[in-house]
Amino acid sequence: MKKTIPLLIVILGGLIWVAWAFSPHYVLQEVFYNQFYLPWVYAMSSFAMLLGVLSLSMMHSAKIKRKAPKWQYSYFFFASFVITCLAGFIGGTQKGGLFMWMFENVQMPMSATMFSLLAFYMASAAYKAFRARSPEATVLLIAAIVVMLAQVPLGVQISRHLPTFSQWILDVPNLASKRGIMLGVGLGSVATSLKILLGIERSYLGGGD
């Protein structure tokens, strides 16, 4: 029973979504989707958010209690959480308030910093990938050099056909392999959805059977 009812709900919900995908009818597109589903999603996601916040708080409070390694940092979590909440609830989330100020001047620069690291990691990954240790890696290296050179003026100086060749690499072999993967992904998605609909796949219900 513990699994049967959720399973039935999922199967019923899945069938409705299948009908939604094939039918443009007002009942499904407007009544079900816009008037029923979307408001429920908005309402439910806020409660789920609460669950997330509770989980994070429990994890950090356990860390402090157990004096786990670097437990002092957990105080920063609570401090940031309280300050952000107060800023949002008291001052509002509009531009000009403390909440938005913190978002723009603390969170965004920190995110940008993390993102900027990507360039260095990419260089490192590229170095690893382009080491011509095997014939396949050599092909990869040559293709990469061609595509990269074609992006800069120097490439055209070397040969005016380089951009065309680069575009061909992107449009033909690259796109073909991408589409191959996408085809597999698409079929896999359908198969997984089908497994869920038929009750074969139950991992989302939490644990074993």
Binding site: F22, A48, M49, S55, G96, Q107, S189, I196, S203, L205
Partner: protein, 974 residues
């Protein structure tokens, strides 16, 4: 010179005084500089007296202004935020003046407004600038006198949740006058300015630091009704062979207040003189003769008319005409004079034959008016080589969803010699063709293109063979390329300046209303017939309770009247906006009567009885009058009125729709019935198409009629999308293959699955972590629960968690999505229980981290470094964070196994991880590891279905190469 104490003190004093003066001067200067200059509030010209125009000089670019906030009030000491105009601080406002027109309905009460009166940020206690008006109807009541208010509410709020508010009761305690009351959180109240009232405004600039700079001086403005703007042009045609005068005119930009037009024959005079004289329409038209008149309805009614003058037509050949437009205040304006063109009826454009069809595959809110076969025309020409001998020609194909074009034939000719250059058959319409010009052809000569089509056109019939579209492609030196000329020839006739204007008529109104003017490049028009979801009603008043009294502010012709009465049992407490509770119910088409009802049951019953008894009483009165009257004209009038009253009586007493409403068990079901009947007639529309040159030569199409009755169309909500038959078929086929393989697997057939290294190594990776005594990390990516990759990842998590529990290895699962977290916790918990180790389960190891992408990366990287992970799993959907995490994992020396269906991240995983599951391998993992026959069956089915797809792709490619596109076209585009 030594700087001793004696000298230092005066110097410091001087510096101090200088600095203070400088700061003060700067402050003084900046205070003035920070106020917008020349702020003015003026009446909007040529409007109906509901608009004011605000203008000001924007601040200098150096001030880094990001927005100008406009405040409005009915007193100079309390102004509420009205609107914000955003500007780019990096680029200056181009014009010297900025404008804001306060001439449309603005929100004055909304659920998002503050609950109480709140000063604007940074305002002192005695400040005058406030945020939005409070969400308090008691406060809104104080504004009722100054604004025309309109309530906008969702249909269910008005019809099902509004409360009956009774103005007063009679001696027998029956309600005399009642309203539908809506609370502040059930509606948005919009406000329009009232003519003659005074309003106060100011503008505040806000800089990049979010500082509100000082406001401009509060300025008052009074909207005044003005004479309407004159029509820019009247076109007239005298048609001797038919004895008709034809008029067509243009409406001015602001036409909302226009109600009527008059066409007048005026004295001929120079245009300049007419312009001067027409400033005073009364004087200018003193001796004018009226030729025609009619309604305008804010410019939505036809802008043309025909006057039949018969044999007198010759006297109009030299006549001069003008158009007078009236607004609902009676003010008028006159157009420039029009001298008619004298043309016979053969100059008229051909009549447009059209039909209306339901738009297929929609939710029932669209109709298509079709008047032509598919239309193809060239939109762009691009040279593909240096000597311009190879050209790409982009074309546009306009057709309806029910029409079909098999092939388009493009014939190119030399425009000078007429020599045929090339013929191209476009069997697959991708909106582009490539043409190779012959050697030596002068590109600058241009090209002439003749386009013919094959396929299905109007009403499913074949496109006629003589249907030819021609266009000239001329050389444009400025663009150094060929461009299509404006002229579009259809069967040798230039149709580029002919328009097809679509009008519609609702069932309950005899008026034809403009839908859209279309060029001849369009062959159809999709008309939106929306489902009604909102109700818009005038606010008649506002009521609230005060102690034991009910206070009402009611709009009356004399102004807003305050009424109070004692609260009675059943009276609703709280504040309500008072709206008309009567609504349109059904249109009795046979009797041409609109039946109205109330949204409240008792009021509806009473209203019905009153209507019936009023009609009966009037009928009796008319019968009496008829018996006494002897005058034929009077008798005719009485008969017409009797007929009218009888129709009202029949519509209310012999109407099954009305009867059914009263039979409803509850008011809720009655109202549902009312809404259904209302939608039924409101969504039915008849159409006509007028073909015109917009200069007085127009021909109306025949509206669709059956037995002398107009045909009203209602869109149909479709249950199945016809474009998805193939998708449905393939899905069913796939299901069938899955079922077959699942059955085979169940019967014990050994299904071979190719080895996947990444999955085979999972056990080794877990073993490594156990041996090293270090934890493992399982990352499910940033996908949501609706992503298939996330669901597949959950399956793998269950298996990894089981092994981890068996070996007593710590597994950390930081979640990106708070909806996934409890599921992941449950999966890990179940795994621990399944292997008999519930004591080792720690729910704090499966936790929500954040759903901010790079904050998540920072968190995960921190955990990896602190905990010194032995093994990392990255399974799910990933974006830019993938490389940042796997590189860190690499740096801490963890064995990493990744799997994703995000194509852009697969290369990064391959580079930085030890093993990678590519695309579908991720989905296969659960089956592969479990070895369950059911799961293996689906996996095998996937492989076989891929073979089917590959076969179809190859066949499609081969057929397309032979110009057989049936199979290609069968495939859905999306």
């Amino acid at each position: 010179m030594r700087l001793d104490k004696r000298r230092l003190i005066p110097i410091l004093l001087a510096v101090f005084i200088f600095s203070v003066s400088l700061i003060m001067a700067q402050q003084h200067e900046s205070k003035d500089d920070n106020i917008v200059g020349n702020f003015q509030v003026t009446d909007v010209p040529a409007d109906d007296g509901t608009g004011l125009m605000l203008s000001w000089e924007p601040l200098d670019r150096s001030k880094r202004i990001i927005e100008y906030r406009i405040y409005r009030g009915i007193t100079p000491d309390q102004l509420f935020f009205l609107e914000s105009i955003q500007v780019n601080p990096k680029s200056p406002v181009v014009s010297d003046q900025m404008f804001y027109y306060d001439n449309s309905a603005s929100e004055i009460l909304d659920a998002s407004f503050p609950g109480k009166l709140r000063l604007e940020k940074g305002q002192p206690d005695d400040g005058i600038l406030y945020r939005r008006p409070p969400r308090d109807l008691k406060f809104t009541a104080t504004l009722l006198e100054k604004y025309q208010m309109i309530s906008l509410a969702e249909r269910k709020q008005f019809y099902h949740r509004s409360r009956e508010i009774v103005e007063e009761y009679d001696s027998s305690s029956d309600p005399v006058n009642s309203y539908a009351g809506l609370r502040s959180n059930q509606q948005t109240v919009l406000a329009l300015l009232k003519p003659g009232e005074t309003y106060y405004y100011t503008v505040v600039a806000v800089d990049e630091r979010q500082r509100m700079l000082p406001h401009a001086p509060v300025t008052a403005g009074v909207p005044i009704p003005n004479a309407p703007e004159a029509s820019p042009a009247l076109y007239s045609v005298v048609m001797p062979d038919t004895g008709e005068l034809r008029f067509e005119w243009e409406y001015p930009i602001y036409k909302d207040a226009l109600v009527q037009y008059r066409i007048l024959q005026v004295s001929d005079m120079p245009a300049q003189e007419w312009e001067e004289r027409s400033q005073d329409p009364q004087a200018a038209l003193a001796n004018a003769r009226e030729i025609a008149s009619g309604q305008v309805a804010a410019g939505s009614l036809p802008n043309y008319t025909v006057v039949e003058v018969g044999e007198d037509i010759d006297s109009y050949k030299d006549a001069v005409f003008a158009l007078q437009l009236f607004d609902y205040y009676g003010a008028s304006s006159v157009s420039p004079i029009s001298k008619p063109r004298v043309l016979n009826s053969d100059a008229l454009p051909p009549r447009t034959d059209f039909y209306v069809e339901d738009k297929p595959n929609d939710k029932g809110d669209r109709l298509t008016v079709v008047w032509d076969n598919p239309i193809v025309f060239v939109v762009k020409v691009t040279a593909l080589n240096a000597d311009n001998s190879r050209l790409r020609i982009n074309y546009q194909l306009n057709m309806t969803e029910t029409q079909r074009v098999d092939d388009i034939w493009f014939d190119f000719y030399d425009p000078e010699t007429g020599e045929h250059i090339e013929k191209i058959k476009e069997f697959y319409q991708d909106n582009a063709i490539v043409i190779n010009l012959p050697d030596g052809y002068e590109f600058q000569k241009g090209l002439k293109v003749k386009i013919t089509l094959t396929g299905e056109g109007l009403q499913g019939e074949d496109i006629p063979e003589d249907y030819v579209i021609e266009q000239d492609l001329r050389y444009e030196p400025a663009m150094i390329t060929l461009v299509p000329s404006r002229a579009l020839y259809r069967n040798d006739r230039d149709v580029s300046r002919v328009y097809n204007v679509v009008y519609r008529q609702y069932m309950h109104s005899p008026m034809w209303r403009l839908v859209m003017r279309n060029t001849s490049f369009d062959n159809s028009l999709d008309v939106v017939v929306p489902y009604s979801s909102m109700v818009q009603k005038l606010v008649h008043g506002i009521s609230y309770t005060e102690g034991d009294s009910l206070v009402m502010y009611l709009n009356t012709p004399a102004g807003v009247e305050r009424k109070t009465r004692a609260l009675r049992p059943g009276d609703r407490k709280g504040a309500y906006a008072l709206l008309d509770h009567t609504v349109d119910f059904t249109w009795d088409h046979d009797n041409q009567v609109m039946v109205r009802t109330s949204i409240f049951k008792d009021a509806a019953r009473k209203m019905h009885e009153e209507t019936v008894s009023a009609a009966e009483a009037r009928l009796a009165e008319l019968q009496e009058l008829r018996a006494q009257s002897t005058d034929a004209a009077e008798l005719e009038g009485i008969d017409a009125e009797i007929q009218r009253q009888e129709a009202i009586l029949i519509a209310h007493t012999q109407n099954p729709i009305v009867d059914e409403a009263f039979k409803a068990n509850s008011n809720r079901s009655r109202v549902k019935h009312v809404l259904s009947a209302f939608d039924d007639f409101m969504r039915r529309q008849a159409f006509k198409v007028v073909k015109t040159d917009a200069r007085g030569l127009f021909v109306e199409s025949e509206p669709e009629m059956i037995n002398g009755e107009l045909v009203y169309h209602m869109p149909i909500s479709n249950w199945f999308d016809n474009n998805k038959y193939v998708t449905l078929f393939t899905t069913l086929l796939f299901c069938l293959i899955v079922v077959i393989f699942v059955q085979l697997a169940k019967r014990g057939k050994d299904l071979y699955i190719r080895p996947i290294a990444g999955l085979q190594e999972i056990d080794n990776a877990i073993g490594r972590a156990t041996e090293m005594g270090r934890p493992m990390l399982y990352c499910m990516g940033n996908g949501s629960i609706s992503d298939v990759a996330t669901i597949a990842s959950m399956g793998i998590l269950g298996l990894v968690a089981r092994r981890a529990a068996e070996y007593d290895t710590k597994l950390i699962v930081p979640c990106y999505d708070y909806i996934i977290m409890p599921i992941a916790q449950e999966i890990v918990r179940e795994a621990h229980y399944a292997v008999g180790r519930p004591d080792t389960y720690d729910r704090n190891n499966v936790f929500y981290l954040t759903n901010v992408q790079f904050a998540y990366v920072a968190g995960v990287n921190g955990i990896m470094i602190r905990e010194r992970m032995a093994t990392n799993f990255f399974m799910g959907f990933f974006a830019a964070e993938a490389l940042l995490m796997t590189e860190t994992g690499n740096a801490v020396g963890a064995v990493q196994i990744a799997g994703t269906d995000a194509i852009t991240q697969i290369p990064f995983f391959i580079t930085t991880c030890d093993y990678t599951l590519i695309g579908e391998e991720l989905y296969a993992a659960s089956a592969y590891l479990n070895r369950e026959p059911m799961l293996l069956g689906t996996l095998k089915a996937q492989d076989y279905f891929k073979f089917v797809i590959l076969t179809v792709v190859i066949i499609g490619a081969v057929l397309s190469s032979f110009q057989i596109t049936g199979l290609t076209l069968l495939m859905p585009e999306k």
